[in-house]
C-alpha cells in the first residue's frame, strides 16, 4: 500500500515570526509551495548556517502549523541541541531560510469516524495538532496525552485542552499533571475513550512504550519517529531503522522516505542501532533474493 506521493519542493522561505514557547523555539516561515502540499505527519528539512555554511547536513523538523496567510506559512518547533539549531534560533523576521518539503509519509487517517488517542512527548506533540484537526473534521473523537521531563518541556498543553475531548499531561518531575510518563497514563485514557487507534510522536523510547500499550489493547498504533538524517529526501541513507514489511521480512528502511510515520508494531524498537541478524542483507545472514513479491529495499 503506497500513499499517494507528494512531490517535495525546495523554496527560499522568509521568516515571518519567531517566538519562544517555554523550552522551545518556534519559527513561522512563508513557504507557499510547502504549505499547500502539506498533510499531517509531513516534515521539512532546513539548511542551516547561511549561504557559505560549513554545516552541510540539513536539519529535519516536523511542522506544527500550516496557515494560509501570505500564500501559505509553516511553523516549525524545535529545541536547541547543537550548532544548527542554535543558528536557527537566532533567525529574525525577514531572514530567509532554505526549506525542502513536504517530506515523508504522512499519518494515515481513518475513513470512518473513530476514537483516536494522540500521544506526544517533548516537542513531538507539535506535529499532532494538524493531525487532530484533520481527524476532527472527519468526525473522530480526539484525546490527548502529552508528556515530558518537566512542565516547560510539555509542548502544546493549552491547545490540546482546547481541542481534545480529554487531555492528560504527565511530567517526570511532577511539575505539571501526573507524575510519570505518558505510558503510565495511556492505558486508562485508551480504556475511557474506547480508543480505536493511537497516534504518537516523540522520542524513540516513548514510541516503544506507546506501541507496547497499544499492542496490549490490540489496537493499531501509528508512530512518527525522529532519527538523525543528513538530507531528508532519501539520498544520504543515514536515517535507517529496522522495520518489518508486509511480507514479514525486516529491512533497514529510511525514516525520511518510508517514514517518518510507521505502524508501531512493525518497528523493531529493541533493535534500533543494530542490524538485526535476520534483516534483509544482514552481514553473515543468508542473502534473501529480492523476488517479485519483495518490496524494494531502497
Amino acid at each position: 500500500m503506497e500513499e499517494t506521493a507528494v512531490t517535495p519542493v525546495q523554496v527560499t522561505g522568509t521568516v515571518l515570526t519567531t517566538r519562544r514557547v517555554d523550552a522551545y523555539h518556534a519559527l513561522t516561515v512563508v513557504a507557499p509551495g510547502i504549505a499547500e502540499r502539506f498533510r499531517p505527519g509531513h516534515f521539512v528539512s532546513v539548511a542551516v548556517g547561511g549561504p557559505h555554511t560549513s554545516t552541510l547536513t540539513r536539519r529535519a523538523f516536523s511542522v506544527h502549523d500550516v496557515k494560509p496567510d501570505y500564500g501559505g506559512t509553516v511553523e516549525l518547533v524545535f529545541a536547541v541541541r547543537g550548532p544548527g539549531t542554535s543558528w536557527l534560533a537566532e533567525r529574525k523576521a525577514r531572514d530567509t531560510l532554505d526549506l525542502v518539503g513536504p517530506l515523508g509519509r504522512p499519518f494515515p487517517v481513518p475513513r470512518d469516524p473513530c476514537a483516536c488517542v494522540l500521544v506526544g512527548g517533548e516537542y513531538g506533540s507539535a506535529s499532532l495538532f494538524a493531525l487532530a484537526d484533520t481527524l476532527q473534521q472527519r468526525g473522530c473523537r480526539v484525546d490527548f496525552v502529552l508528556g515530558a521531563a518537566s512542565a516547560d518541556r510539555v509542548f502544546g498543553a493549552l491547545r490540546a485542552r482546547r481541542m481534545g475531548e480529554t487531555t492528560t499531561l504527565t511530567t517526570e518531575d511532577g511539575s505539571l499533571g501526573l507524575r510519570g510518563r505518558v505510558t503510565d497514563a495511556l492505558p486508562s485514557v485508551i480504556a475511557d475513550a474506547r480508543a480505536d487507534v493511537v497516534y504518537a510522536c516523540g522520542p524513540m523510547p516513548m514510541l516503544r512504550g506507546v506501541t507496547a500499550v497499544a499492542v496490549e489493547f490490540d489496537i493499531p498504533v501509528q508512530v512518527c519517529v525522529e532519527e538523525s538524517m543528513a538530507c531528508g529526501y532519501g539520498v544520504c541513507m543515514t536515517c535507517v531503522l529496522p522495520v518489518i514489511g508486509d511480507d514479514g521480512v525486516t529491512r533497514m528502511v529510511r525514516s525520511c522516505v518510508e517514514g517518518p510515520v510507521f505502524r508501531g508494531e512493525r518497528v523493531r524498537f529493541e533493535d534500533i542501532g543494530t542490524i538485526p541478524f535476520d534483516a534483509l542483507g544482514a552481514p553473515g545472514g543468508r542473502a534473501q533474493e529480492g523476488g517479485a513479491h519483495t518490496r524494494n529495499v531502497s
Partner: protein, 329 residues
C-alpha cells in the same frame, strides 16, 4: 571572440563515451536516482553514478551512520543496497526510462565477486560505464582494502575489463589514503582501466565528548565534503601529471562551480557531486550552470580546453595549443 550569448561546449568524454556535460552524481550519494528525479530531470546530468552495487542485498551498517564535521561529514552507511538482481530489475530500467546515462558502481570482496558483477552487468542495456569501487576489504587478503594494494587493484581491473563488453568503459575509483596514489593509478591503467575516478572518501573518525564514545556506530567512517577538497586536488594533480592521457573523474567536496573548475584545472574531465546533494537537491544543476558561467567569463569555448590547464608551465599563456594536446580529451 566569444560573444556573451554564445554557450560553452560542455561536452566531455569518459574514455570514448560522450557525456553532454561533465557533472555527475557521486557513487552512493543519489540512492536509486528516483529521489532526486522528484526535483529535476536526471537526463540533464552528464551521468548518474549509482550507489555501489553488490551481488547480494546489503543491510549496511548500524546507526548512527552519520556525524557532521567542520565543512564535511563522516558516514558509515556500509554500502546498503538491494543487490545486483533487484538493481537490474528495478533501478537500472528506471534510470534508463528517465533518459539518464547510468554509470554503474560495483563493489565486491574478492576478484571473483567483482568479475561476477561485471558478468551480470555485461549484457544489461543502459550501462554507460562501470565504476569499480576499490575501497572494499579484500576477504582473501585479511580484509586489506583493494585500493591500498596496486597489484590487487590491477587484478580486479584486469578481470572486470576482460569481462565487460569492449564498448563499456571501466573506471577505477581510487582512495586518497594510500601510500602512493600514482602507483595505484598506474597499476589500474596497466590492468585495463579506461579511466580513473578520485577521490573516494578517506577514513576519519570523531568522538562525542558528551557520551565519550565514537560518534559513529562503526567507529570510523568516510570523510566527505569541502574539508577533503584540497586532498582531491592534490591527488588529481599528481595522477594527471603522471598519466596525462588518462581521463579522470574528479570528486571531493565540490559545492560550487568554482570548486568544479578547480578539479577540472587539476586534470578532471568529469566532476562528480556527492555531499553537496545532501545539502541541496539541485546542487548538480546549479554547479553545472555556475561552471558554464565561469568558463564563459574566462573566454573558454570548450570545457575540454580547461582540463588540466593548471599544469601548464609558468609563464605560458592560458590557452596554448600544447595545453589542448596535453589535456586528457
Amino acid at each position: 571572440m566569444l560573444t556573451p550569448e554564445m554557450s560553452v561546449d560542455m561536452r566531455t568524454y569518459l574514455a570514448h563515451v560522450e557525456l553532454a556535460n561533465p557533472i555527475t552524481t557521486a557513487a552512493g550519494c543519489a540512492a536509486s536516482g528516483a529521489e532526486l528525479s522528484q526535483f529535476f530531470d536526471l537526463a540533464r546530468l552528464g551521468a548518474v553514478v549509482t550507489r555501489s552495487i553488490t551481488m547480494a542485498p546489503r543491510a549496511g551498517r548500524p546507526t548512527p551512520r552519520m556525524a557532521e564535521t567542520p565543512s564535511g561529514m563522516l558516514n558509515a552507511v556500509g554500502l546498503q543496497g538491494p543487490g545486483v538482481e533487484v538493481f537490474l530489475e528495478r533501478e537500472l530500467p528506471r534510470l534508463v526510462e528517465r533518459g539518464a546515462r547510468a554509470v554503474v558502481s560495483i563493489a565486491g570482496g574478492s576478484v571473483a565477486e567483482y568479475t561476477a558483477l561485471a558478468r551480470r552487468l555485461a549484457d544489461a542495456p543502459g550501462v554507460a560505464a562501470i565504476e569499480v569501487n576499490l575501497s572494499c576489504p579484500n576477504v582473501e587478503d585479511l580484509g586489506r582494502v583493494f585500493a591500498r594494494d596496486p597489484a590487487a587493484s590491477a587484478e580486479v581491473l584486469a578481470s572486470v575489463r576482460a569481462t565487460m563488453r569492449y564498448d563499456v568503459p571501466v573506471v577505477a575509483k581510487l582512495a586518497p589514503d594510500v601510500a602512493d596514489i600514482v602507483a595505484v593509478a598506474r597499476a589500474c591503467v596497466d590492468g585495463g582501466a579506461d579511466a580513473l575516478a578520485m577521490i573516494n572518501s578517506p577514513l576519519g573518525m570523531s568522538i562525542d565528548v558528551d557520551t565519550m564514545r565514537p560518534s559513529l556506530a562503526a567507529g570510523t567512517g568516510g570523510l566527505s565534503g569541502p574539508a577533503i577538497r584540497p586532498l582531491a586536488v592534490r591527488c588529481l594533480w599528481q595522477v594527471h601529471a603522471a598519466l596525462p592521457g588518462v581521463p579522470i573523474v574528479g570528486m571531493g567536496g565540490v559545492l560550487t562551480g568554482r570548486d568544479a573548475l578547480e578539479l577540472i584545472l587539476a586534470g578532471a574531465c568529469v566532476v562528480s557531486v556527492g555531499t553537496a546533494l545532501f545539502h541541496d537537491p539541485y546542487a548538480c544543476l546549479r554547479i553545472l550552470r555556475e561552471l558554464e558561467e565561469l568558463l564563459k567569463e574566462r573566454g573558454f569555448e570548450r570545457l575540454a580546453d580547461a582540463v588540466g590547464l593548471a599544469h601548464r608551465p609558468p609563464g605560458a599563456g592560458p590557452r596554448h595549443r600544447i595545453d589542448l594536446e596535453e589535456s586528457s580529451l
